[in-house]
């Protein structure tokens, strides 16, 4: 199911100024997103994975136009989205929806679920007339496997799993084309996660949706994604088709992430903690390759030169001076 990409991101950069103020001369900048390129094809799921501080949540906000980029371009359906205003912006918002991680925080605590679902239908001009809106809201709730009885409730009367489903239903009710999912199941239990993920898979096929899935949970990303990109300190360090990346990661960080996941099988080889030290903060960037302070395979060139993201094998990109080194040494 390929075609022209639904979403194209070019050299996306987002820097946040931090500290400083009237009296301080030094301006510290957080380079949250520092040059990201990616393309999402229609009907596919693009998975973006990384630990805290890697910039993935910032990318989610940028894609949903809740933040404006410092530099770079985002193209949706071929059109540049910067500078969208008024009716065009509304149209964009209708077609690109975002689901956040915190299902409790994402709902106005004083709004009934029905109101929470119908409000966007009016503000985005999806339906006219209350009856039609209520109908649509009920449909969406049903699609996520919830009883319509839930519409009369307030958020705090419902469980975390129900709230997360409602937040997804709310996004789906406006019939978007692209759904950005920022940690959609991180706050729910395993069994609820399974339900939500399989439901999302069903809906994707049925309604021809495209997903950008952002998560720190590799297992979830593996399950849902067609293409996966691994982020570290604001950059993509590896990108490939899901199966390929998980079978043979080329970048040492990707390899470390994958081997760090505890496998529910006591017979499996015990995890070797391949990444040293702590997850860094994006305020102080190391020189050269950003990963080198934690990389067990770092050489001199890694400390001096920052490797660009290159296509090492067909369709498999990595930003490393020695791609595949983790595997060669492990054998």
């Amino acid at each position: 199911m390929t075609g022209a990409p639904v979403l194209e991101v070019e050299r996306l950069i987002k820097h946040f100024p931090v500290g400083g103020g009237l009296l301080s001369r030094r301006k510290v900048v957080v380079r949250a997103v520092d040059g990201v390129d990616l393309q999402v094809r229609p009907g596919r799921t693009f998975g973006l994975v990384g630990e805290s501080g890697c910039g993935k949540s910032t990318i989610a906000m940028l894609l949903a136009k809740l933040l404006e980029p410092t530099a770079g371009r985002i193209r949706f359906d071929g059109r540049d989205v910067s500078g969208l205003r008024g009716a065009a912006l509304k149209e964009f918002r209708r077609r690109v929806q975002i689901v956040f991680q915190d299902p409790y925080g994402a709902l106005d605590p004083r709004q009934t679920i029905l109101s929470a679902l119908t409000e966007p239908l009016f503000t985005l001009g999806v339906v006219s007339g209350r009856a039609r809106a209520v109908e649509r809201a009920t449909e969406s709730i049903g699609l996520m496997g919830l009883d319509p009885e839930v519409l009369k409730r307030l958020p705090h009367e419902l469980s975390g799993g129900q709230r997360q489903r409602i937040v997804i239903a709310r996004a789906l009710a406006v019939a978007p084309q692209l759904l950005v999912l920022d940690e959609p199941t991180s706050s729910v239990d395993v069994s609820v996660q399974a339900q939500i993920l399989s439901r999302l898979e069903e809906l994707k096929a049925r309604q021809g949706l495209t997903y950008v899935l952002i998560s720190h949970n590799l297992v979830v990303v593996r399950y849902m994604s067609d293409v996966v990109a691994v982020m570290y300190l604001g950059r993509i360090v590896e990108m490939a088709e899901s199966a390929r990346l998980f079978a043979s990661p080329l970048h040492p960080y990707a390899a470390a992430l994958i081997s760090a996941i505890p496998v529910p099988d006591p017979e499996a080889r015990t995890v070797a903690a391949l990444a040293r030290g702590d997850v860094p903060s994006p305020v102080h960037m190391p020189a050269g390759c950003r990963y080198h302070p934690r990389c067990p395979y770092a050489e001199r060139v890694c400390r001096e030169a920052d490797p660009p993201l290159t296509e090492v094998q067909s369709g498999h990109h990595a930003a490393c001076h020695f791609p595949g080194v983790a595997f060669r040494q492990a054998r």
Partner: protein, 284 residues
């Protein structure tokens, strides 16, 4: 808005049953309120001018339940009329201050360009002691109860503005605000339909106690001579007038002073309870 308010009222009623002090305060205040409301119908306003120097400073008896004041007027009638006047003044002052403070505070919190100027203005108001400010405004406008009320509105709104601004600033960062933005909710709708309803209650919960404070401030103004004068029945001026006769006719101070005390106390109890209802409930 119906379901959250209904549920909140149910919780409030449940809490009331458990908090007997607050219930007592509530009841007392309601009685005072009813008295104040009924007063103009029970007592003719002419009582104020019913000066009878021959009957002045008489102690409480069967005819004059609270005795008579230094002009020979029935103190009970005066206190009752004052109830009406004081309550109306205090409630309208707090009401107006709330509306202005909440409105400006919401704007300051939500619209960054308005924040700085509004905060500087409130800084100015807050740096002047309230009594001095009220006196200054009253001396410009005149000393009627209406003008005093206006002066007190000037004194009261900055606090509500600050409080509201703080609430709005933190509420703005909450995930649901971001989510609603991505769902096409514009700024005006965001402030009115979402932010204000979620932030206004802790601010409003202060109001009952502030009504008590305004009453005391009015009394203080009268006491230092900035009051509306002996022909306007106001608790504070009654106390101020009675102060000169405190040993001969203590009832002149006791009854109006008691009224201030009782109203203030009951309002404080209700205010404490209101804070308990509105603040932690939101966190649950």
């Amino acid at each position: 808005m119906a379901p959250p308010v209904a549920e909140r009222l149910r919780e409030a009623a449940r809490l009331l049953r458990h908090a007997r002090l607050a219930t007592a305060g509530f009841v007392v205040f309601l009685v005072i309120l009813a008295t104040g409301a009924a007063a103009p119908f029970l007592i003719p306003g002419s009582v104020v001018r019913d000066v009878q120097f021959s009957a002045k400073l008489a102690p409480p008896d069967a005819i004059h339940w609270f005795g008579t004041d230094d002009f020979g007027r029935d103190l009970f009638s005066m206190v009752l009329l004052a109830t009406h006047l004081d309550l109306r003044a205090a409630l309208s002052v707090v009401g107006a201050a709330l509306v202005i403070g909440i409105g400006l505070g919401a704007l300051a919190g939500f619209v960054k360009s308005l924040d700085e100027p509004l905060m500087r203005i409130t800084d100015v108001f807050l740096s002047i002691p309230s009594l001095v400010l009220a006196m200054a405004i009253a001396s410009v406008l005149g000393r009627s109860i209406e003008n005093l009320s206006i002066a007190l509105v000037f004194v009261s709104w900055p606090i509500y503005c600050r409080l509201m601004r703080g609430q709005v600033l933190s509420e703005k960062e909450k995930p649901y605000v971001r989510a609603l933005r991505s769902l096409g909710v514009g700024r005006a709708r965001m402030i009115v339909r979402h932010i204000i309803p979620n932030t206004v209650f802790p601010v409003v919960a202060r109001a009952p106690a502030d009504v008590g404070l305004i009453l005391i401030t009015l009394a203080a103004l009268s006491y230092i001579g900035f009051g509306p004068g002996p022909y306007v029945p106001e608790w504070g001026s009654l106390v101020a007038a009675g102060q000169a006769y405190i040993f001969q006719a203590p009832w002149l101070v006791v009854f109006p002073g008691g009224a201030i005390f009782l109203t203030s106390l009951s309002l404080n109890l209700v205010g404490d309870w209101a804070r308990d209802v509105f603040d932690p409930r939101l966190r649950s």
